[in-house]
């Protein structure tokens, strides 16, 4: 059986499973559509949150970004897990006590202002749509590889599948399908990592293998990696080469963005009790940590394998020959990935060999001149392909490769579905029912929810064709937006009795607009290529890249909110009482949707 058939089999079987569960648990009423009747156990909820959370960014993209940068991209690891601490301590229990369905309902009620609710809805839609763009990038990579077509065609097919999937699911379908998806994606991520860790270090646990010894030479794996990448002119893997301020702000943006993203927060509305909301966040992080503790090992080991692939006899011997790439079955993955347009090589100096090195390094330029090299000949290695190509690079059995294809699709699909649901509920429930037409029928609300989903996916697919970065980088921008707009409003809503309606509205608008403009200045207006005035290599403000600006946006939000609140009318007594009641678990009934 060839690899294409195996992939098809694995992806087909996993899809049949999800669709079967979705049909079995099909959503009937509106409240089921949004929050599944609140009967979800913390462990189940944690697993579903983990599937919802671990998207194309975590699964497909993150290890690739770590592999090619090393220590400096640890921000992704700390940021996307550290946010759960904020979520568990600062938001989840109180929002569950408040007992409504959506984040913007809380903001609307706490700040006693339909305007605040409207602004919150806009913030949610902007952040979620940016997030979906990142997911579509990952969907394109995964579908392109497994159907063996171009990235663009993969993206278009993937968009149709995501849409069909989200429309038929609803939250209840999504909760149980997501448990199934979690199981598929975590197996798909860890099984190849275990194999590779055994091959390289003899240790079956990748997180330990990363700090173990490289079996071939007996020296520590990371020391070996540091040595070979520096021999090719790249930065040392384990050292801190980037800017410290940017790294701190980037980590912080990802953390507070995690605690401000609607599709994650919504999960904590679906647990039965306040105490369960606290446990749920912990369980979610347990399931997430299984992947996040493995990811750095996947990155480092893949970097070692790739380098070894191009310099099979060591970095000081001859590079791999074009003939070997074309004929040796160990190099078959290169031809497969070339079809997607995400991997490319070119024998520039015509010596029949492919030299892979950093041609920006001065030492390497001298070495190149000496040996007659004419630049790095591995011309394109898209970071987003690393995780999916990893089992092929390590020459693992066909079924592992099929499993990884299924897992990558599960990751991209589950998060895209969760986000589309958050966007559709924001539009139909908060915007149309809450603001424009309160008397809309249940049927009309469901219909508008689905139209909103369709619109979101069309926009995301269009922008996904020319994404502002690799999947995880685009997703990081979405986190920056959520960090700057939603998180501060939620936190002030719970921890302050002084911040009033005007303060919250002004704060959210200031945070959102400043961050959005900063991102557009660096990534192009509305992410349209070549309309940017600055680049992340040379940012507008100090060393702060557009992906790191969310933390600054959040500080602006807090400052503006307190300033405006201090100059306007104090919070009325009934809202003070509302805040006091949200702070204690006592009397938390089932949540209601009375708007």
């Amino acid at each position: 059986m060839d690899q294409f058939t195996i992939n098809l089999l694995f992806v087909g079987a996993s899809f049949a499973l999800y669709i079967g569960i979705a049909i079995w648990a099909r959503a009937g009423s509106t409240s089921e559509f949004y929050a599944a009747g609140r009967g979800v156990h913390p462990v189940t909820n944690g697993m579903a949150t983990a599937a919802d959370w671990m998207s194309a960014a975590s699964f497909i993209s993150m290890a690739g970004l770590i592999a090619f940068t090393g220590y400096d991209n640890s921000s992704y690891l700390m940021g996307w897990t550290g946010g759960y601490v904020l979520l568990a301590l600062l938001l989840a229990p109180y929002l569950r006590k408040f007992g409504k369905f959506t984040v913007s309902e809380f903001i609307g009620d706490r700040f006693y202002s339909p305007t605040a609710r409207l602004v919150a809805v806009i913030c949610l839609i902007v952040a979620s749509t940016t997030y979906v763009i990142g997911q579509m990038t990952g969907v394109g990579v995964a579908f392109g590889r497994f159907l063996e077509i171009s990235n663009t065609a993969g993206l278009l097919i993937g968009a149709c599948v995501v849409f069909a999937y989200a429309v038929f699911g609803g939250m209840k379908g999504v909760t149980y399908t997501q448990v199934a998806q979690y199981c598929v994606l975590i197996m798909a991520y860890t099984i190849p990592a275990v194999f590779i860790s055994l091959q390289l270090t003899g240790n079956p646990i990748p997180a330990l293998g990363l700090f173990g010894d490289y079996a071939a030479t007996g020296e520590p794996l990371l020391a070996k990696l540091d040595a070979i990448v520096t021999e090719l002119g790249f930065n040392e893997y384990t050292s801190h080469n980037g800017d410290t301020l940017n790294m701190v702000l980037f980590t912080l943006s990802l953390m507070i963005g995690t605690a401000g993203l609607p599709h994650v927060i919504m999960r904590f509305f679906t647990v039965p009790r306040v105490a369960d909301a606290r446990w749920s966040a912990g369980w979610a992080l347990v399931f997430i940590a299984l992947l996040y503790l493995t990811a750095p090992a996947v990155g480092a080991m893949a970097r070692l394998n790739i380098t070894d692939m191009f310099w099979p006899n060591g970095t000081n011997a001859e590079a791999v020959s074009v003939e070997q790439i074309e004929t040796d079955p160990r190099y078959d993955w290169m031809a497969t990935w070339q079809k997607t347009g995400l991997l490319g090589w070119e024998d520039k100096n015509g010596d029949g060999k492919i030299q892979y090195y950093n041609d920006n390094s001065e030492t390497m330029q001298a070495k190149a001149a000496e040996n007659g090299w004419e630049g790095n000949e591995l011309t394109n290695f898209n970071r987003d392909i690393l995780v999916l190509a990893n089992p092929e690079i390590a020459n693992l059995p066909g079924w592992v490769i099929g499993l990884v294809a299924a897992g990558g699709l599960a990751a991209a699909l589950s998060t895209a579905a969760g986000l589309l649901l958050a966007i559709s509920s924001a539009v139909s429930h908060d915007l149309i029912k809450g603001q424009l037409n309160p008397s809309i029928s249940e049927k009309g609300e469901l219909l508008s929810a689905r139209i909103a989903m369709a619109a979101a996916i069309v926009i995301a697919t269009y922008l996904g064709l020319n994404p502002p970065g690799f999947a995880a980088q685009t997703v990081a921008l979405a986190f920056g937006l959520a960090a700057a707009s939603i998180f501060p409003a939620l936190m002030m809503g719970i921890f302050s009795k002084k911040v009033n309606n005007s303060g919250a509205v002004a704060g959210m608008l200031a945070g959102l607009i400043v961050t959005l403009v900063y991102i557009f200045l660096h990534k192009g207006w509305f992410f349209i290529p070549d309309t940017n005035s600055f680049s992340d290599a040379d940012p507008l403000l100090l060393s702060i890249k557009s992906t790191s600006f969310g933390a600054v946006g959040a500080m602006i939000n807090f400052a503006v909110a307190y300033l405006v609140a201090g100059m306007t009318k104090p919070v009325p007594q009934d809202i003070v009482e509302l805040v006091e009641s949200v702070r204690v678990p006592r009397g938390a009934g089932a949540a209601t949707a009375d708007h």
Binding site: Y71, S74, L77, M78, T81, G82, Y84, V85, L86, A88, L89, L90, P93, A207, L210, F211, G212, D213, E219, P220, L221, L222, A223, K224, D226, T238, H240, T244, M247, V248, T251, L252, M255, R273, V274, A275, R278, W279, A281, G282, L285, V286, A289, Y292, L293, P296, F495, E580, R583, V584, P585, R586, G587, A588
Partner: protein, 94 residues
Amino acid sequence: MADQSTHAASTAEADKGYWTANVRIILISLVIWALVSFGFGILLRPMLSGIAVGGTDLGFWFAQQGSILVFLALIFFYAFRMNKLDAEFGVEEE
């Protein structure tokens, strides 16, 4: 009537004590949260560079492994501690 208002006043008093205790636990937890990630993982890494861990140093381990493990411990500690606090102040759900 008098009984009820005394009861309400003592409830409000208890709620205040509960909230102060809660905020204290949150602050302690967040100090640890920041110390392991921004501290050991980034800013204090040069100070920890003398402690070797598998081919690199302790700061690298905290950035890629340790901080995540501490985050997990923190969330479970908080959930456990708060559920106990709920009972102490009699504010738990029925």
